[in-house]
């Protein structure tokens, strides 16, 4: 086999010998100056997360890039671009996709979210009860363990019943606790009862109508 010959430019004549030394020294010096400058003069970008909760909104002098950021004293010396001015500070944005939230009264059990979800995170069951225009949910389960925060469900929801919260701390020791049903047991049983009554009533009504019809017949 062919072993590639490592002729690095080290060996080409006396002038390149000294040019190599010069280049090494100068580029290393430039690099060291840059790291020194970064270490000593530049602002640290660390977000000390648990002690400074981005949700809380940190104290004014702790925001990394406030509007009207004063320039550093060595700005002209260090080159431009030291201060990043922008309205977007490192905070949780308005559109942040945190853990999914659910607003039960708004939900009409249209099943759009369950259908669009590519990985079946959401399970919805709705029943028809009296006094409510649309179906009422009796099960609304979100499996946070599976959710990939793609946002398709939020996008299709016609009533904003499912939405993104800005919470992001969902760690747990048991992944079973990541599966959550948003309809309480009490409410579900109540609704199921109401639904059963409604269907009974409807059945009775139908029966009566049927019997009426037969009577008429």
């Amino acid at each position: 086999m062919r072993v590639r010959d490592y002729k690095v430019k080290f060996t080409h004549g006396i002038s390149s010998y000294f040019r190599n030394i010069y280049e090494s020294v100068s580029t290393i010096a430039v690099g060291m100056w840059i790291t020194y400058k970064t270490a000593m003069f530049e602002r640290k970008v660390t977000l000390q997360y648990p002690s400074h909760d981005p949700l809380e909104g940190r104290p004014k002098d702790q925001i990394l890039f406030p509007d009207g950021n004063p320039k550093l004293p060595f700005e002209s010396l260090l080159g431009a671009g030291q201060s990043y001015k922008g309205p977007l500070s490192p905070r949780i944005s308005e559109r942040y996709r945190g853990l999914l939230g659910y607003d039960e009264p708004k939900c009409i059990s249209c099943l759009l979210c369950a259908q669009i979800c590519p990985i079946d995170v959401i399970t919805v069951k709705g029943v028809k009860i009296e006094g409510r225009k649309s179906k009422a949910p009796v099960t609304y389960t979100i499996n946070y363990a599976k959710c990939m925060f793609c946002g398709l469900c939020v996008e299709v929801c016609p009533t904003d019943a499912v939405f993104f919260t800005r919470r992001f701390e969902g760690a747990t020791f048991d992944f079973r606790s990541l599966v959550r049903d948003f309809i309480s047991g009490e409410l579900r049983r109540e609704r199921l009862r109401l639904a059963a009554e409604a269907t009974q009533k409807a059945a009775q009504k139908k029966k009566r109508e049927d019997s009426d019809e037969t009577g008429n017949f």
Binding site: V8, F10, T38, K44, V45
Partner: protein
């Protein structure tokens, strides 16, 4: 250190009753332990400092959770390493595997025998001191190869072999640079080399001739290579060999490698400071021995009660002035840099600084009273030993800082380039320096 033991022996009557040999033995052991602790402390501090520097250069904060400014981080790391399970691979060569880290550590610890702390202050001032340092440095190679081989891991083996090739190659320019120093100083004793540089900053070897100036950089580069730091860290090149020779180590055995690495940084920095930056020589002071009568005089002067009273009274308004000035200065600084520290320190920094100053002055004042008779001696010791030690330590730390700083700037060389740098650049330059320095000395000094 013998001189100090002699000094104590003659000064303290009790010791004379015990006898010289037991005294010397006990004191020697005590000083050795002291120096070993110093080694651990310095290595620990350097690990902390490296991480802090890494943070700074990377626009991060670095460790800041354990202790004030994260200073206790290395203690926490040490506790973690001790508590960790010590895993030994089943197929490893048990004896060598267990022994290797201690051999590496031993090599570093042995170097501390001749590392000076001040004039006449080292465990032992061997007459072949610098030669001894080069010799103990080679312990490391054996340890590293042993670790690499005994791990029974191909990556470890590659790391061990790389380190052997590298360290042995770089011993040559290293020794050549040191030879220039020995040639100039005319002695191999560490204290002798330092004494040869007395007489002001232009007598320090770094500035005394162009050849020693060049030799300093040759020494610097080759010693960085010898202690396996970036840009020469190919034996443990993370992105190539994962962790090189210490890939299979865990727990305190890994900690031993780690401590040895950082101890080595201090050793090479101390040697560089010794050989080229005048060791414990203080800048602008021609000879440290001249400080001795100053210490005696200051001690004697301060030992008089009226002087104390005047000083105390005079100090108060001065302190007030200093306080206001400091306060304004800190304000300015804070406005400039958008300083963000802990809330307590931010609000109370002036008071804290002032309080510390007061406490220090008060302590000194209070201690002065019972120690009045000893004051000349104490001040002599401070001027004779403590100031030179501080000077030496700061020089060594400055060089260590550069070593760490290089690590966070530069990429790493390839094996063949590493060898090319050694054999094509450093060794010829080393010989050039050696001969040039000889000629220089013949022309100007001899």
């Amino acid at each position: 250190m013998e001189s100090f033991i002699n000094y104590l022996f003659h000064k303290i009557g009790f010791l004379q009753q015990v006898g010289y040999i037991p005294t010397a033995a006990v004191l020697m052991l005590f000083f050795c332990l002291l120096v070993l602790n110093f080694f651990g402390l310095v290595a620990g501090f350097l690990t902390f400092f490296e991480r802090k520097l890494a943070g700074w250069t990377n626009s991060r904060r670095g460790p800041n959770r354990v202790g004030p400014y994260g200073l206790m981080q290395f203690v926490a790391d040490g506790i973690k390493l001790i508590l960790k399970e010590d895993i030994i691979p089943a197929t490893a060569d048990q004896i060598y595997f267990k022994f290797a880290p201690y051999l590496v550590l031993l090599g570093t610890a042995l170097s501390f025998v001749v590392i000076p702390f001040g004039p006449r202050w080292s465990i032992s001032d061997l007459n072949v001191g610098i030669f001894y340092l080069i010799a103990t440095g080679s312990f490391t190679v054996v340890g590293l190869i042993m670790a690499g081989w005994a791990s029974n891991n191909k990556w470890s083996l590659l790391g061990g072999m790389r380190s052997a090739a590298q360290i042995i190659s770089y011993e040559i320019p290293n020794a050549l640079a040191i030879l220039v120093v020995v040639l100039t100083a005319g002695t191999m004793s560490i204290q002798g080399i330092i004494k040869a540089q007395s007489g002001g900053i232009h007598h320090w070897l770094l500035f005394s001739s162009p050849f020693t100036f060049l030799a300093f950089f040759i020494y610097g580069i080759s010693s960085i290579a010898e202690i396996n730091r970036i840009p020469f860290d190919i034996p443990e090149a993370e992105s190539e060999l994962v962790a090189g020779y210490n890939i299979e180590y865990s727990g305190m055995r890994f900690g031993a490698f780690f401590a040895a690495e950082f101890g080595n940084i201090y050793v090479v920095s101390a040697v560089a400071a010794t050989c080229f930056l005048g060791g414990w020589q203080i800048p602008l002071v021609e000879d440290v021995a001249l400080l001795d009568p100053i210490g005696l005089a200051v001690g004697g002067f301060l030992g008089r009660p009226p002087v104390l009273a005047v000083l105390l009274l005079g100090a108060l308004p001065c302190m007030y002035l200093a306080f206001t000035a400091l306060r304004a200065f800190i304000r300015d600084l804070r406005a400039k840099y958008h300083y963000r520290g802990s809330r307590f320190v931010r609000l109370n920094s002036e008071f804290l600084v002032l309080g510390l100053l007061f406490a220090a002055v008060a302590l000194i004042m209070v201690l002065h009273v019972p120690l009045r008779g000893w004051l000349p001696e104490i001040y002599r010791l401070v001027f004779q030993y403590l100031l030179p030690f501080l000077s030496f330590f700061l020089k060594a730390m400055l060089i260590a800082f550069v070593v760490l700083w290089l690590r966070w700037t530069l990429p790493r060389l390839r094996v063949d380039q590493l060898m090319g740098l050694c054999w094509k650049y450093l060794i010829p330059l080393g010989f050039f320096c050696l001969i040039g320095q000889g000629v220089w000395m013949y022309l100007f000094a001899g």
